[in-house]
């Protein structure tokens, strides 16, 4: 067996630590179906990376693996300098995923949803931060309405409010513009810009590139679990 010199390994680990995302040979299988096949991806801090591709190509699965919502079947990776397999909890503390579902509690009000998120995230002065987040997403007047009564666009805005509370170093967005009006689209753009200004990285799964108001650092296409 060919041995890899220790300095080379150390250099590779050091390089991965400087990246927001560094994935190598990542695979993920659901039953008999391979959703991800040997993903290689490097994303630097400050980057905005767009992933496009047909339905069922593995885009959402890739975001969920990066967010540690699901573990890969194989491969190695470092997210925000932390090992994907062994330091998932530390990765979760500094990254945020807005998936295709909003992850809200329909029987709770907008304020209660964000207060819950704030307490789970360990946000200081949660009441003030929640009020500010609701104002930013344009839901201050509906703060005490139950989410069940919200339109899909309002629910999406509230989910964005949760991301505002967190201010993550790594922002993962899966079709964030879905159901949003022009103001909502501007809100997502501001969130992306804010994350990058803080030195963070953004990975966004998007079908319609025209809705993105800023040029991406890189655009990838996913087809049948492969990134190109």
């Amino acid at each position: 067996m060919l041995a890899i010199p220790a300095p080379l390994i150390q250099a590779e680990v050091a390089r991965a630590r400087t990246l927001a995302i560094s994935l190598s040979g990542i695979t993920r299988r659901f039953g008999h179906k391979w959703a991800l096949r040997g993903i290689e991806l490097d994303v630097a801090f400050g980057d905005l990376v767009v992933i496009q591709g047909h339905n069922g190509g593995g885009k959402s699965t890739l975001l969920r693996v990066i967010a540690t919502a699901i573990m890969p079947t194989g491969g190695t990776g470092r997210i925000l300098g932390k090992d994907l397999w062994r330091e998932a909890a530390a990765i979760r503390a500094e990254s945020a995923l807005l998936g295709t579902t909003n992850g809200l509690y329909e029987d709770l009000s907008a304020t209660e949803n964000l207060l819950f998120a704030a307490r789970m995230l360990g946000v200081r002065q949660p009441a003030e931060r929640v009020a500010e987040a609701l104002r930013q997403v344009g839901l201050a007047n509906d703060a005490h309405e139950r989410v069940r009564a919200f339109s899909s666009g309002m629910q999406r805005r509230l989910a964005l409010g949760r991301l505002l509370l967190q201010q993550p170093k790594l922002l993962l967005l899966d079709e964030p513009f879905n159901t949003l009006d022009a103001d909502g689209v501007a809100l997502v753009s501001a969130l992306i810009a804010g994350t990058r200004e803080r030195g963070g990285a953004v990975v966004i799964v998007l079908h319609d590139l025209a809705r993105l108001t800023m040029p991406p650092s890189a655009t990838y296409t996913m087809t049948a679990g492969r990134l190109s």
């Binding site: 909890a89 979760r92 909003n102 709770l108 209660e112 360990g122 949760r162």
Partner: protein, 226 residues
């Protein structure tokens, strides 16, 4: 530790708020408990002595059936809006989510018991015994063991498509030791502990509770991420 407790209490408070808002659910759960008592009462017949003998067992069965609905609902609120994934992506340890849900479920099941137990006392002609403080301890320990297992297995079942069917199939066999100790302990104290064996059942309940809580805390992470 303070941050962990904040997350535990946040999960518990969120679940209880959702439960309070869905009033129909708690009414349905309590009604099922009372109806179970009524139906078994009719099945046993009018003989007062037989009713008294069966009271403890049927009371725990009514709590069991009602509890399954509570546990099912506990994770259903996470699944409805795709909230489970968001919940699992918050920082912190998995056991904090488990303990939060355990506390919320414990509160709801105790609330159901607070209504169902007086109904059982009336329907089954059972007088409040002199040993009621010990009986209360048995009920609390039995409920703790029951809710621990229920919260754990409902988490496991929530990751499957046939969760409604799977939960009782997983839960009921595992509950046998707790149920046996709770029923025997309750029956002993309801009869004034004439045989003097209630203490043994009480100690057995404590042992089961400790084992189940520790096992659930260790394994919960693996089953919720499966």
């Amino acid at each position: 530790m303070n941050a962990a407790w904040t997350r535990v209490s946040a999960v518990a408070a969120k679940d209880l708020t959702a439960e309070r808002r869905a009033k129909a659910n708690i009414v349905a759960v309590t009604s099922l408990g009372a109806l179970t008592l009524l139906v078994f009462g009719f099945a046993i017949g009018p003989d007062v002595a037989t009713l008294r003998t069966a009271a403890a067992g049927i009371l725990w069965l009514s709590v069991l059936f009602s509890g399954v609905l509570v546990f099912h609902r506990s994770y259903q609120i996470e699944l409805d809006g795709g909230a489970l994934e968001a919940l699992l992506l918050y920082p912190g340890e998995r056991w904090e989510i488990f303990v939060g849900k355990l506390l919320a479920n414990l509160f709801v099941v105790l609330l159901v018991e607070a209504i169902v137990i007086p109904v059982a006392l009336v329907l089954y002609h059972v007088a409040i015994p002199d040993t009621w403080p010990q009986l209360l301890v048995v009920i609390l320990l039995g409920t703790l063991g029951f809710v621990t297992l229920g919260t754990f297995y409902s988490a496991m079942a929530s990751r499957t498509r046939s969760r409604e069917v799977l939960l009782p199939l997983l839960l009921f066999p595992m509950l046998v030791p707790v149920l046996l100790a709770a029923v025997e302990g309750s029956a002993a104290y309801l009869s004034g502990n004439a045989m003097g064996d209630a203490g043994a059942w009480l100690r057995l309940l404590i042992v089961f509770d400790v084992i189940f809580i520790l096992a659930a805390l260790f394994v919960f992470e693996h089953i919720i991420e499966a």
